[in-house]
């Protein structure tokens, strides 16, 4: 297995400037620096409000940064998320970066099965095959089959989270970003997510995540990055 990092974060700083609050400045991180290698799972640690989710969003390019570089190895070369043009960033997400957020953003009228299969279809997998894989994954996550044809808008928190996880994990992405993937899950379903993460790691996927559940964290993570180190400087 290559030891070259897939993600390299260096000197990243971010402050929110709240124009509607009289220009108040809300520092998030400063001097954030770390690397991730294929096959490792790394937790972002620190108390609530330390900037863990924000950092995850910066890596995905959802939040912009004030300085530093976020280099992701995709399609053969490194792309700096911070300076890449929007279309390059979209391509990088499609080929390399998966993001499992805490909350599902539902699309009206689209069925659960299709929501989950969509990333595979985007990769060029035949629709029938993609739907079949989506079904298999949802079954593994114990989502009742009677829910599959329905849009997930009315599902419970735990059901929506499992849809979100299935959608985030169905396609191969060498770098996965996970924001509390087990937050609303019971013990049995948390164990399934732990198994899925283990499989991804064995396939060489690098995972950066926020795992509040100590047991889950200890089982899947190889190390913890303390985000308060970056907050101090900010």
């Amino acid at each position: 297995m290559t030891s070259e990092p897939i993600l390299s974060v260096d000197g990243v700083a971010k402050t929110f400037l709240l124009h509607l609050r009289g220009g108040a400045r809300l520092p998030v991180v400063s001097g954030a620096a770390f690397e991730l290698r294929p096959g490792e799972c790394v937790a972002l640690g620190g108390p609530s409000g330390a900037g863990k989710s924000s950092l995850l969003k910066m890596v995905y390019g959802n939040y912009r940064i004030d300085s530093g570089t976020i280099r992701v190895r995709g399609d053969g070369d490194f792309v700096d998320v911070a300076s890449a043009d929007p279309r390059r960033l979209l391509r990088l997400r499609a080929s390399t970066m998966g993001y499992v957020s805490q909350f599902l953003r539902v699309i009206p009228r689209v069925s659960t099965l299709e929501v989950v299969a969509e990333p595979l279809v985007g990769d060029g997998v035949a629709r029938e095959q993609a739907l079949e894989r989506a079904g298999a994954l949802l079954a593994w996550l114990n989502l009742p089959e009677r829910l599959w044809p329905l849009p997930p808008a009315t599902f419970s928190g735990g059901e929506q989270q499992r849809v979100n996880i299935a959608r985030g994990l169905i396609a191969h992405r060498p770098l996965l970003l996970m924001d509390e993937p087990t937050a609303s899950l019971d013990a049995a379903n948390s164990r399934v997510v732990v198994e899925l993460i283990g499989e991804k790691k064995r396939a060489g996927v690098a995972i950066l995540g926020i795992f509040h559940d100590a047991q889950v964290r200890e089982t899947v993570c190889d190390r913890v990055i303390d985000v308060t180190e970056f907050a101090k400087a900010a």
Binding site: L20, K57, G61, N62, Y63, R64, P86, P108, R109
Partner: protein
Amino acid sequence: MSARVADLPLLVAEGLSKDYGARIGCRDVSLKIFPGEVLAVVGESGSGKSTLLGLLSTELAPDAGRVRYRLRDGRLADLAGLGAAEKRLLMRTDWGFVRQNAADGLRMTVSAGGNVGERLMAVGWRNYARIRAEATDWLGRVEIAADRIDDDPRAFSGGMRQRLQIARNLVTRPRLVFMDEPTGGLDVSVQARLLDLIRSLVAELGLAVVIVTHDLAVARLLSHRMVVMRHGRVIETGLTDQVLDDPREPYTQLLVSSVLAA
């Protein structure tokens, strides 16, 4: 190879400006649109977004600046330099325009099938049976029952009219579609259906779209990139999720924070 084609812009606007007397319509706007990409233009009423759409689609003439478009032969042509016939052909074959008010984009006294078929005839279709079959197929794709084909759109609901307008525009397989508030004035449930339809057709046909909307939820659902306009100028641009989740400009922060969460 297809990646290389997608790397060439389909439409390039440079320094577009247009005033209405003392009132600013649009000031020094430059942007590019790439194949298969949905670009949302957002801003409040009077921000210049509809003027920009008019300039991009050459319905309005700019006071300054130019719009260039990549023709099917690969040439990037200045639209101001095209003859009237060439421009008309382009609008019939390569472009579509979905308007907020369906009555502006449809022929209200012509049957639904005729509205769709007319565009096919404009690009040279002559066989009546084939035109009718293609029109029926497209009505089905926009979820209008085949037995409504001979009704004229005055008998249709607002949502149906918009869906018919979409069929009329997409039947000739355009490469670029302009949309001006396509879901404006519709009930929320009707909006959701229309948005889902637009979303799947755009992805399936690989269309490039410029959509003007004041509804940020519509922009989030449909677009890849976004430009925010105010007082006729573009004040912020970026990936749609970046602009909405991490807005930088005071005005964009105000827009995003003013949305009521349901």
